[in-house]
């Protein structure tokens, strides 16, 4: 068991699922509020965004219609383009090194894997957090399901200390998003900020 844990996050999730009988825990989930973690080390600026599905696409149930699927696909595309979401100051000289986005479903997942009765070629081996397969269980999963968009960005900045103020076009792109709880970690420590729809800027000036 322990060795499994040392593996990647996906593997850990898999392990949780396998233990579904004796481990019951769920993350907190608040609609309207997402979390943005920013870590700065040297010239690397890593960002990790976790937002409830309701904030991004307006629903959290498994995609049922083609519109649902289209909305999710579009959201994932938008979330994969950090330059559209967050305005980093030019002085910092940041370039995007990597950007990924996916959709994680919590609560319904236990059902899926336990029953294991959904068919298909793309079923078990990747234990995906995507939208696949869930429609089979839409009825039983509904109500218990929460989904969360999860995106990771890595920037390489020539002068991260020049980051100054970050602007959040994010709020213009996603109508349901009201607030982002931001945590910033540098070599000197951690600090928390709150960025809201009404005040969509983050001032990092005090950090450096």
């Amino acid at each position: 068991m322990k060795s499994t844990l040392a593996l990647t996050a996906a593997a850990a999730l898999l392990a949780t699922t396998a233990l579904a009988e004796d481990t019951r825990q769920l993350d907190a989930h608040e609609h309207g509020t997402g979390a943005l973690d920013i870590a700065i080390d040297g010239t690397t600026v890593a960002m990790e965004l976790r937002v409830p599905g309701a904030d991004i696409v307006g629903f959290e149930h498994a995609a049922e219609s083609d519109e649902d699927r289209a909305a999710i696909a579009e959201a994932l595309t938008t979330l994969s383009t950090p330059t559209d979401l967050f305005g980093l100051s030019d002085a910092a000289g940041c370039t995007v090194e990597a950007a990924t986005a996916d959709l994680e479903t919590e609560g319904a997942e236990d059902h899926d894997h336990d029953h294991g009765d959904h068919t298909e070629e793309h079923g078990h081996d990747d234990h995906g957090h995507d939208d696949h397969g869930h429609e089979d269980h839409a009825e039983e999963a509904e109500g218990a399901t929460h989904s969360e968009f999860h995106a990771e960005y890595t920037h390489d900045c020539t002068a991260p200390e020049e980051l100054g103020t970050i602007t959040f076009a994010y709020f213009d792109l996603f109508e349901g998003a009201q607030e982002l709880e931001v945590q910033v970690v540098t070599g000197d420590g951690a600090q928390a900020f709150e960025v809201t729809r009404d005040a969509p800027t983050l001032d990092l000036g005090g950090l450096f």
């Binding site: 844990l5 850990a12 949780t16 990790e48 970690v185 951690a190 928390a192």
Partner: protein, 416 residues
């Protein structure tokens, strides 16, 4: 010219002016004092821990975990099992990890079990590390290192024996296994000053003969036997963690928070401090508000005395006017007098503050572990003083305008 007049006029009413000045001085000293305590407390809290990326403990609240692990305020809801501790320690993101085991006490001070790494890794006040004032670190199983305040309060020095009590407010001592003070730490201004530090194994060792919170009667394992035993602890209270790179902080935090075998919590000390401050902040704003109101009250008091003095000074004003002083001069005279009074009060208040600080500094430090630095007034404080003088001028405008309007007619007319 007006200045000389104003000064002379103030001197002529020395007693009233002195009272008004005193009221303003006290209120200013109170306001600055509250501000000083507020910033001092904030700085002292923020300076307590630095260099630690995550604090790990049983799942509770981030503020609670911070309070009991770093500030020794309150108690842990649960312990962290040694297996979980080892699991976390083995993760690739972890650069260093320092276990902390709390629960026993010595007199009014907490005893903390930890490892040698604590002395290397613990940082306070922007990265300062712990220094020994005398003696050295933990060598033997029954060695203890005490904080500066423990040594000062109880008069301890190196090689003195020290007996640890079981629990926090208890009369049962671990007197079969006295410790030896191996070192005394330099004063840090942090809760470490009020802590007795022993090794993690020693905490286990003194509890070998204990079952269910009490010593097994008649049983006391000799120290030599204990030294030969396997003293791996079953649990620790919390752990301080340093990560390899800030980039891994969040991943490690999430992994610990989602650790399936045991409900654990990892917090970022800086963020937890901010949360704590958001809670305390309401009270401090209220305190600051109250002391600001006291300053306003003192200034209104000054306005009242100015109004009543106008009556006494009817003739004086009239004579000035008759001698050719323009109404504006009268206005300026009164405003200047008020400003001088306020300035005198503000200056005296600053003096009172420093006198108070000199007296209170050691007392506050001893009672609350709060070090209030005595430094020249900051820009912010000078602005406060300036604001008091300006506010003095503003409140005096009302009586001054009245005098400006009435000075001639009022004083010349004979009233019956």
């Amino acid at each position: 010219m007006i200045l000389r007049l104003a000064l002379a006029s103030l001197a002529a009413r020395a007693l009233t002016v002195a009272m008004t000045t005193l009221a303003i001085a006290l209120s200013v000293a109170l306001f600055l004092g509250v501000e000083k305590v507020r910033t001092g407390a904030k700085a002292s809290f923020a300076d307590t821990i630095s260099g630690t990326d995550l604090i790990v403990g049983a799942r509770s609240g981030s503020v609670q975990l911070l309070l009991y692990s770093v500030f020794r305020i309150g108690n842990a809801t649960n312990n962290v099992t040694w297996e979980s501790y080892l699991d976390i320690a083995a993760r690739p993101e972890v650069e260093w990890i320092v276990p902390i085991s709390l629960g026993d006490s010595h007199r009014q001070f907490r005893v903390m079990g930890t490892t040698e790494a604590f002395f290397e890794r613990y940082r306070y006040r922007q990265g300062r590390s712990l220094e020994m004032a005398e003696g050295e670190g933990l060598g033997d199983l029954f060695d203890a290192v005490v904080g500066a305040e423990v040594a000062a309060t109880l008069g301890y020095s190196v090689d003195d024996p020290i007996v640890v009590s079981h629990g926090l407010a208890s009369f049962t001592d671990h007197d079969d296994h006295p410790f030896r003070i191996a070192g005394v730490l330099e004063r840090t201004g942090t809760p470490v000053d009020r802590t007795v530090i022993v090794s993690l194994e020693a905490i286990e060792a003194i509890h070998v003969d204990w079952r269910g919170g009490a010593q097994i009667p008649g049983r006391s394992t000799p120290a030599e036997t204990l030294r030969g035993m396997d003293l791996t602890p079953g649990a620790v209270t919390a752990a301080l963690v340093g990560v390899e790179s800030p980039l891994q902080t969040f991943a490690l935090q999430r992994a610990i928070n989602e650790y399936p075998e045991e409900p654990l919590l990892a917090v970022l000390p800086g963020v937890a401090l901010q949360e704590l401050w958001a809670i305390v902040g309401v009270a401090e704003t209220a305190l600051l508000g109250v002391s600001a109101m006291v300053v306003v009250t003192a200034l209104i008091g000054m306005m009242a005395t100015l109004f009543s003095s106008l009556n006494e000074r009817r003739r004086e004003m009239a004579i000035f006017r008759a001698m050719g002083a323009r109404p504006l001069t009268i206005l300026a005279l009164l405003v200047l007098e008020a400003m001088l009074t306020a300035a005198l009060g503000a200056g005296l208040g600053l003096g009172l503050l420093y006198a108070g600080l000199l007296v209170a500094q050691p007392l506050v430090d001893a009672a609350f572990g709060l070090w209030l630095p005595i430094e020249p007034p900051a820009l912010r404080e000078l602005w406060v003083l300036l604001a008091v003088v300006a506010a003095g001028a503003i409140v005096s405008l009302l009586p001054a305008i009245r005098a400006y309007k009435l000075s001639l007619a009022d004083g010349m007319m004979v009233r019956t």
